[in-house]
């Protein structure tokens, strides 16, 4: 079993490295790369919601901030062209600062109240980007610089982006796993369990919550840079509430608080969104033309994606509320009555 546990991630890693050699279809690789973006976003949200227990909606705002930061500093819009690689860190830092800006006034809020305030923030950011002139308005920013590695230009070829996502996800996985089993990770979880008791353990709960917000936002910022670079364009429409819901859906489906679960959930939702729905649409339309059915020929399954997420969330809540691969903790929380003997008052 432990042998399996050790070999499985290595096998998965090797397989993922070989994917572009097996699947030569570049639209598929592009979908895999976009799925990688969702994985990073889900990792970020997991720090805030899964570890620290702060229900933050509107997380896509940080994604937008990361993408636009890169757009401003690496496009003809302002005539600034900073190199892609340092921008990964710069955008992460800018998003982290916005994480602090949002985190600071909401620190006293928990649960539903925090959810509503963060939801508002998630609505405000795309609205502001859309309505300001200097952010490019509804059209956003075009002709954003694309990365180069030494003399190799990434361009619109999805393969290098795919590998870049893999590398960054691997690094994020390593860092987050370290954090989970450290002083910081324990502080986050203590706050999730009992904030008052946590503060009496010498945990600066304000600082720890702000750290969670800014770390989560920083990951979204990195995802934003990759997104903007791969597409070479950003516009406000990609960062609306639907995006936030998609990230949260990945978390709920996979299992909050557990990195493997979050990874799995994000991959499933990502592949559904970026690969399976568009592909199935194509097949149904082709089939419709073949049998001369107008209804089938004009079907667009992409329109039903939120219906699908909604159904997935309902089914998960009904049959496996802890997610597919939950942390042991959440499984117990949600099945406390069945699985765990209630301690007697005195034994």
């Amino acid at each position: 079993m432990s042998m399996m546990k050790r070999l499985l991630p290595i096998a998965c890693g090797v397989f993922l490295l070989l994917v572009p050699l097996i699947d030569k279809n570049s639209s598929h690789i592009s979908a895999y790369a976009d799925t990688g973006g969702l994985v990073l976003l889900a990792f970020g949200l997991n720090i805030i919601v899964g570890y620290t227990g702060l229900l933050a909606l509107g997380f896509a705002a940080f994604f937008a901030i990361g993408a636009y930061t890169y757009g401003f500093l690496a496009s003809p819009l302002l005539g600034i062209h900073i190199n892609f690689w340092p921008m990964l860190l710069v955008s992460a830092a800018v998003a982290a600062v916005f994480g602090l800006v949002l985190g600071a006034p909401t620190l006293r809020l928990r649960g539903d109240y925090l959810a509503i305030v963060t939801l508002g923030f998630g609505e405000i950011v795309p609205q502001v980007l859309q309505n300001l002139k200097w952010t490019g308005g509804p059209d956003g920013i075009a002709a954003i610089d694309q990365p180069r590695l030494f003399s190799y230009a990434f361009g619109f070829n999805p393969v290098p982006y795919y590998y870049l996502y893999l590398a960054i996800i691997a690094i994020a996985l390593l860092l987050l796993n370290n954090l989970r089993y450290s002083r910081i990770g324990r502080s986050w979880m203590a706050i999730r369990e009992d904030e008052l008791a946590a503060s009496h353990m010498g945990i600066n709960t304000t600082g720890a919550k702000l750290a969670a917000f800014s770390m989560g936002a920083a990951l979204a910022g990195v995802a934003g840079v990759l997104f903007a670079a791969k597409l070479s364009t950003v516009s406000p429409s990609g960062f609306d509430f639907n995006m936030s819901v998609m990230i949260l859906a990945a978390l709920v489906l996979g299992g909050m608080g557990n990195l493997t679960g979050v990874l799995t959930g994000a991959v499933i939702i990502g592949l559904l969104n970026f690969l399976i729905l568009p592909q199935a649409t194509n097949w149904m339309q082709a089939f419709g033309q073949l049998v001369h059915s107008n209804a089938l020929a004009n079907v667009d399954l992409n329109q039903y994606r939120f219906l699908l997420y909604g159904m997935i969330l309902v089914l998960v809540m009904l049959f496996r509320p802890e997610g597919l691969i939950p942390s042991a903790v959440r499984r117990a929380e949600l099945h406390a009555e069945q699985d765990i003997a209630i301690p007697e008052a005195a034994h």
Binding site: S182, A190, S199, H200, G202, A332, H347
Partner: protein, 253 residues
């Protein structure tokens, strides 16, 4: 010299005076008890000391340091640890992790240290784990180290809470009704435990309802009623004080 002293401390909640003009001091190395009927303001005193509440007036001094308005985490860092009347363990963390969290204020690893698992952070984490395991050993909880706190029987959870509090290496330990809900055998064990903690050099301020326990181990007792101190003295003096008997049993008893 007194380790902790409260000077004319008042705490009002709106029109309600929860603590009235309380002056008390706890000498280094002592076991001091705070007793009184339900609602007398005992837990409020703990909450004032640990920074959940700020006194309306008066000062709280710990080792030459004024604690008024200090955040709970800084009070812990200053050397005061506490347990709670209704157990507040981190239910879904292991017993070992609970105790390790207790040591947080003595740790220095930053986020960067933790994320990169620098040698410094690794060493510190190992040291903290070793110290936590030693505490679990002292409390007879080694066999339960990797269990979730919530899965332990009640009496054991009380002990985990004390171990967690001691992990911060406090000089003053505040115990809020540690014997509540425990059986007579556990109470005996608890008495010995409290004494052995004191013998390790930790001063103890105790809130307790169980009079046999209080009288058995306290060197000094303060009695509160309706937020006011009505008596103080050695257990024998307090036991004979007519105002204490009145507060507990009513007039004319």
């Amino acid at each position: 010299m007194a380790l902790l002293s409260l000077q004319s401390v008042n705490k009002n909640f709106g029109g309600l005076a929860a603590v009235k003009d309380l002056t008390l001091s706890v000498e280094t190395g002592a076991i001091v008890s705070l007793i009184g009927p339900n609602g007398a303001g005992k837990s409020t005193v703990f909450n004032l000391i640990t920074g959940i509440y700020t006194p309306t007036s008066g000062t709280i001094v710990f080792e030459d340091r004024t604690l008024n308005g200090l955040r709970p985490d800084l009070v812990t860092a200053a050397g005061i640890a506490r347990t709670f009347q209704n157990i507040r363990l981190f239910s879904f963390m292991s017993v070992l992790e609970n105790v390790m969290v207790g040591r947080n204020s003595r740790m220095h690893a930053t986020i960067a240290d933790s994320a990169l698992r620098t040698p410094r952070a690794t060493r510190e984490d190992r040291r903290v784990e070793r110290a936590a395991r030693e505490l679990l050993d002292f409390f007879g909880l080694t066999a339960h180290a990797s269990e979730w706190a919530r899965n332990l029987p009640y009496g054991m959870q009380r002990r985990v809470e004390i171990a967690r509090a001691l992990a911060s290496e406090p000089r003053l330990l505040l115990l809020d009704e540690p014997a509540a809900g425990t059986n007579p055998a556990e109470k005996q064990a608890l008495m010995r435990l409290v004494q052995s903690i004191r013998d390790r050099g930790v001063t103890i301020l105790l809130i307790e309802h169980d009079m046999r326990l209080v009288m058995g181990i306290s060197e000094f007792v303060h009695v509160l009623d309706y937020g006011e101190e009505i008596a103080r003295g050695t257990p024998d003096q307090v036991r004979r004080d007519h105002r204490v008997i009145e507060a507990y049993l009513g007039k004319g008893a």
